[in-house]
């Protein structure tokens, strides 16, 4: 009796496995989404573009919030006010926060009194991408550190690993907190992280990032860091610039002239 049962179980399992094998062969195309490789053929080859930004604090006006507001509007970034659960893609904060590891002894008050715009640095060696357990955060062909909101599990490992506090988490439903709803970018839901995307949706249409467009003083310069003739490279060539926490080796793509 026992032997028979064993034999029966053996045969049914083999049959079951064979069934799975055959059906996976038959329905392969049905189960998997097809990728159209031709879509990528005319895209720029990986590694040839690296978008970057230079923030010239000599021009920045203290108290002006135009870049921050433009960013909020462009991406439907919710506003939770001055709480610990505020969501920020681009923010202006004091020197001591933005350059928290740089020396502050005897530096001119000119430097320290102004609040400095900070955003995702789109690092060449991003620690958030390494920390993300589902590859929801990834590095694009053009150097932008992008985020797939649908794949994010909300574990916040990226926030813990980002030295620049550039990633925010949706602790509650963000939609009621959006001041002016804009249809050009999808809203997010509770339980996912979000951050600056260098306006990749605008770059696609040949436009500059919203913050760069919004700045009346041309404080922000956006361009290809890999192109020696670009405006941003020219400025980097001629001026002494800073990156945030360079000692961590993340190679930020956002530079500052203080």
């Amino acid at each position: 009796m026992n032997e028979e049962r064993r034999e029966f179980i053996k045969k049914t399992s083999i049959g079951f496995l064979a069934g799975i094998g055959v059906s996976s062969g038959l329905f392969l195309n049905f189960l998997m989404e097809k990728t159209d490789a031709s879509l990528w053929s005319d895209k720029t080859v990986a590694g040839t573009i690296r978008w970057g930004m230079l923030i010239d604090m000599r021009k920045c006006i203290d108290g002006c919030q135009k870049c921050v507001d433009a960013c909020r509007l462009a991406h439907d970034v919710p506003d939770f006010g001055n709480s610990s659960r505020q969501i920020e893609w681009l923010k202006k904060s004091p020197y001591s926060e933005v350059f928290s590891t740089s020396g502050r002894d005897f530096i001119s008050t000119e430097r320290t009194k102004k609040s400095i715009p900070s955003l995702c640095n789109h690092c060449a060696d991003p620690s958030c991408v390494r920390a993300c357990p589902t590859q929801a955060l990834f590095k694009r062909f053009d150097g932008i550190v992008a985020l797939d909101y649908h794949r994010c599990t909300g574990c916040r490992a990226c926030m813990a690993s980002c030295p620049y506090d550039a990633i925010s988490f949706n602790w509650s439903d963000p939609r009621p907190a959006i001041k002016t709803l804009n249809d050009s970018y999808p809203t997010r839901e509770k339980g996912v992280v979000e951050k600056c995307n260098f306006c990749s949706e605008r770059l696609l249409k040949g436009k500059l990032p919203a913050c760069v467009d919004a700045c009346p003083e041309k404080t922000l310069t956006f361009g290809d860091l890999n192109d020696p003739k670009s405006a941003i490279r020219q400025l980097l060539e001629k001026n002494q610039t800073m990156q945030r926490k360079p000692e961590l080796g993340t190679l930020p793509s956002v530079f500052y002239i203080i």
Partner: protein, 365 residues
């Protein structure tokens, strides 16, 4: 074997009712979180809180199964045969608690299986999840098979041997990888190498303390005695592991003091947590070193509890460090506490049912 969970005396049912109540309150708290998001927790400035604390503690405590399995399977230390199944079930339950704790901390728990689907080799978080699932299955399967064989009075099947050998490196990797989740914070300049070691040592201390407590409870409540030799051996292992742990915690505190570290700069919860954790740990450790107390049931129980609490508190202290440097204030909400206790109760219920089966087999045999 599992049907034995339905038979029990009065204290057993009181215990089970208590656990069920905690689970129900946890579920109601969790439904609130599902509706309102993680805003129901005390998090915000702090990224990770109580549930991740429990995850870290349980993921490492689970690994202590090694201290029973290794002497038994590699060094043929026969007396541990008596408690190996208990240790394996403890490992399985602790892994389950750790997994659920991760789940209740996720913003989108419905995507939890994506952690396997898109498993990422360079993400420590991803590894921790994978290792926990594996460890849960290994311990449950080998424990159950060993118990089944014991019930029939036959030697354990040979196919579980490779699994048991696999569980040994697995148990070493689990706390190390869990430590790497925090060790790779930018404030630690990507690698705080001592942290993984500290977790490994504390894993063996806290897990063995839990195991010792379980054998005490089984002796009290069900009259199942593991014997003097096993208890002594467990106490010895616990003493070594705890000594090593608290030396490492002490080193950390000392380094913070000398390096003008965070412990002195910020007078808040974290400071008191780390210091009281260390003091409690050292006090408990002292009990194990006093010969007269070492044989006293009460002293051992208190000291084991002290070790468990101390190590749990130390996990919390590590969490309140901001990843980018500095320390944040964090007070868990009642909702959060209910969820964490609910998960703990669920795991304990699971362990109780498994141990009930163990008791039935041991009594019959």
């Amino acid at each position: 074997m599992i049907e034995n969970a339905l038979k029990g005396n009065r204290p057993y049912w009181i215990w089970m009712t208590l656990l069920l109540l905690l689970i129900v309150s946890g579920i109601s708290a969790y439904s609130q979180q599902l509706r309102l998001g993680l805003s129901v927790t005390g998090l915000g400035d702090a990224l990770w809180g109580l549930s991740i604390m429990q995850f870290t503690f349980m993921a490492s405590a689970a690994a202590s199964t090694l201290l029973v399995v290794l002497p038994l399977s590699l060094h043929d230390y026969k007396p541990f045969g008596k408690i190996v199944v208990i240790a394996q079930f403890l490992g399985a339950s602790a892994s389950a608690i750790a997994l659920l704790s991760l789940c209740i901390d996720m913003g989108k728990p419905q995507l939890i299986l994506d952690l396997l689907r898109y498993a990422t080799p360079y993400s420590p978080y991803s590894w921790a999840f994978f290792l926990l699932i594996g460890y849960f299955l290994i311990n449950l399967v080998t424990g159950w098979a060993t118990l089944g064989a014991e019930r029939k009075g036959v030697p354990a099947p040979t196919w579980i041997l490779p699994l048991i050998y696999l569980s040994i490196p697995w148990a070493i990797t689990l706390p190390v990888v869990t430590g790497f989740v925090y060790a790779s914070f930018p404030a630690n300049h990507w690698i705080a190498s001592l942290l993984a070691l500290r977790l490994l040592a504390s894993a063996y201390a806290s897990g063995t303390a839990l195991l010792l407590l379980i054998t005490f409870i089984m002796k009290r409540a069900a009259g199942f005695d593991v014997g003097r030799e096993v208890t002594d051996k467990l106490v010895m292992l616990l003493t070594y592991a705890a000594t090593f742990t608290f030396v490492l915690v002490g080193v950390e505190c000392f380094a913070s003091l000398c390096g003008k570290g965070l412990l002195l700069q910020y007078k808040n919860l974290m400071v008191s947590l780390t210091w009281s954790s260390l003091l409690l740990g050292i006090a408990s450790l002292a009990v194990f070193h006093v010969p007269a107390w070492k044989n006293s049931f009460r002293h051992l129980t208190a000291a084991s509890l002290g070790v468990v609490l101390s190590i749990f508190a130390e996990k919390g202290a590590a969490l309140l460090y901001l990843s980018k440097g500095g320390v944040v204030a964090y007070t868990p909400t009642m909702t959060e506490l209910s969820m964490v206790l609910g998960v703990l109760a669920l795991g304990t219920l699971f362990l109780t049912i498994l141990l009930k089966a163990v008791l039935a087999v041991k009594r019959a045999g």
